[in-house]
């Protein structure tokens, strides 16, 4: 058993459930240390942050700020470049809202067909508010986003902002963001990378990527739900308008006027998800202890095994980039509806996702109503895949009757 494979035992879910969990793209399972950290906070440390002179509140604040430092170190950024949000969606909304005064009628925003609705709809809203145009990068018939197409679209549309996912939530394909960011920079185009799917698998390095904004959710990376991160280059964050306003984000308030704190404070109003944020430190420390190289090797081996098993079944169509992939696979069987296949798999305790995966434009590009999605993580093993393939073969028999 490889070192990575032995980590499964750290996840209590697998000791208590018979479900073959192949839906990590939706949310990851949590290791014991994260579950413990949440319980520990509420049992022994519970206090609000930034508000009390008492020791308990100061301890909570100190842990809360340590969590920020922990994320910053992990992605090679500065502490003041990390904004806590409730998830990827809120992070993107924060940026899209904050950019409102910076866009106008003749500007354009460039996104791709592969994006999750969370990286489409907020930009549509920004376009509506500002009169800016929304432009799109096409995918090929397999749903793959090509670096050349991205460059051409930047050249053609001269966008103010390029918003791209690091990896597709439907196909797992890793998009050529390094090239895209470099090219966008040459054309004075801001870049936002949606790292919701990629963060856990690819350990992104902000200095290396050099994007303006990078967003992700804790819950897809072993952490609790309700915690997200917005990374932004400090100057870029400072330039954004405030998103939500209220307590904590202010410097000084009179009845008619307020001044705001500097970033990241000006974006963090109201009581945050303190326990969740502190528990995310536990998740990050857990991830840090695993060599990303070993994790990727293991996940890639597992993914190759999955592809081989699926390709051996007559009538299966696989989508996306099978080479550059975080371990997520979308497929269909002949013309069968993904809803039927996923419902039948469910009767075998196989948890996969089916449908349009909040990526309807991509479904249109692939000309399918939906797909069945298998998303792997390092705590999965070949037995999981064998059980899935066994169930899938039975499901196929049933729909073929």
């Amino acid at each position: 058993m490889s070192k990575v494979e032995s980590l499964r035992k750290d996840f209590p879910f697998f000791n208590t459930s018979d479900v073959v969990y192949l839906d990590s793209g939706a949310t990851s399972q949590k290791p014991q240390c994260v579950i413990d950290a949440i319980a520990h906070f509420y049992a022994t440390q519970n206090a609000n942050v930034h508000r009390g002179i008492h020791q308990l509140s100061q301890n909570a604040t100190s842990d809360y700020e340590s969590a920020r430092k922990c994320v910053a170190q992990y992605i090679n950024a500065a502490e003041n470049e990390i904004v806590w949000t409730k998830g990827t969606t809120e992070s993107i909304n924060l940026v899209s809202y904050g950019l409102t005064p910076h866009l106008s009628l003749n500007d354009s925003i460039l996104i791709s067909e592969v994006e999750h609705h969370a990286n489409i709809v907020p930009w549509q809203q920004l376009a509506k508010r500002t009169g800016a145009k929304l432009a799109f990068i096409k995918v090929d018939s397999n749903g793959i986003l090509d670096a050349k197409c991205i460059k051409e679209a930047i050249k053609q549309h001269k966008p103010k902002l390029l918003a791209l996912s690091h990896a597709s939530n439907v196909l797992g394909s890793i998009n050529p963001i390094q090239d895209a960011i470099a090219y966008a920079k040459q054309h004075n185009c801001l870049t936002l990378i949606d790292g919701a799917q990629a963060f856990l698998h690819l350990a992104p390095n902000m200095k290396q990527l050099d994007c303006d904004f990078y967003v992700f959710s804790a819950h897809k990376a072993l952490g609790p739900t309700g915690v997200g991160v917005l990374y932004g280059k400090y100057q870029r964050l400072q330039e954004l308008d405030v998103f939500q306003s209220g307590g904590e984000m202010i410097e000084y308030v009179t009845l008619t006027h307020s001044t705001f704190r500097d970033a990241p404070g000006k974006f963090e109003t109201g009581t945050p998800n303190i326990a969740g944020i502190i528990a995310f430190t536990a998740a990050l420390n857990y991830i840090k202890a695993i060599s990303n190289k070993e994790l990727r090797e293991y996940e890639t081996r597992l993914f190759k095994y999955l592809i081989k098993q699926l390709q051996a079944i007559d009538g299966i169509t696989l989508y996306g980039d099978l080479e550059h992939n975080i371990g997520t696979m979308s497929f269909n069987y002949k013309n069968e509806h993904c809803f039927d296949i996923a419902s039948l798999l469910d009767t075998y305790n196989i948890a996969v996702r089916s449908g349009h995966h909040c990526a309807q434009p991509l479904m249109s590009a692939l000309s399918v109503p939906g797909t069945v999605r298998v998303s792997l993580s390092f705590y999965n093993n070949t037995q999981d895949i064998d059980q899935f393939i066994f169930a899938l073969k039975h499901a196929i028999e049933m729909v073929s009757e």
Binding site: H337, F339, D340, D346, G355, P369, G370, M398, E401
Partner: protein, 136 residues
């Protein structure tokens, strides 16, 4: 209740596992006539479904009993639609209004299919038919 529906009920009562239930549903679904593409309009679509479901409510030629037609692009939902339509078609609006479709699904062992989280639209279909009956 008509004979066809009674027969379905008897058959389903014997089915233990969801694998058997789905198998039976998919077989029943084959009996549901397909709507022509021209009738698969957005107006007829039932909102909130993971699959496409189209429903038409109306009356039979006798102008007193209800005749609904419906279709879906998934086998399982077609089976569920077949059951609902077999249950309600031929009844008067009064009879349908008195019918508790959720109760019927419970006794068929298909209650799970009516739950809000299923996203198969059966709940919305049931409520659309009940509303139609109550309005007439």
């Amino acid at each position: 209740m008509n004979k066809n529906y009674q027969k379905i009920k008897q058959d389903f009562e014997k089915l233990g596992s969801w694998q058997l239930k789905y198998r039976e549903l998919m077989l029943l679904g084959k009996n549901l006539p397909s709507l022509s593409d021209a009738l698969k309009t957005n107006d007829a679509k039932v909102a909130g479904c993971e699959s496409n479901v189209w429903l038409y409510t109306g009356f039979a030629e006798d102008e007193t009993t209800v005749l609904c037609t419906a279709d879906s692009d998934t086998r399982i939902v077609k089976g569920l639609l077949y059951i609902i339509l077999t249950m309600v078609n031929g009844l008067t609006p009064d009879e349908i209004a008195k019918l508790d479709i959720a109760d019927e699904f419970e006794s068929l062992g298909l209650a799970k299919q009516l739950s809000e989280s299923r996203g198969n639209g059966i709940r919305a279909i049931a409520s659309a038919i009940t509303q139609f009956a109550k309005a007439h």
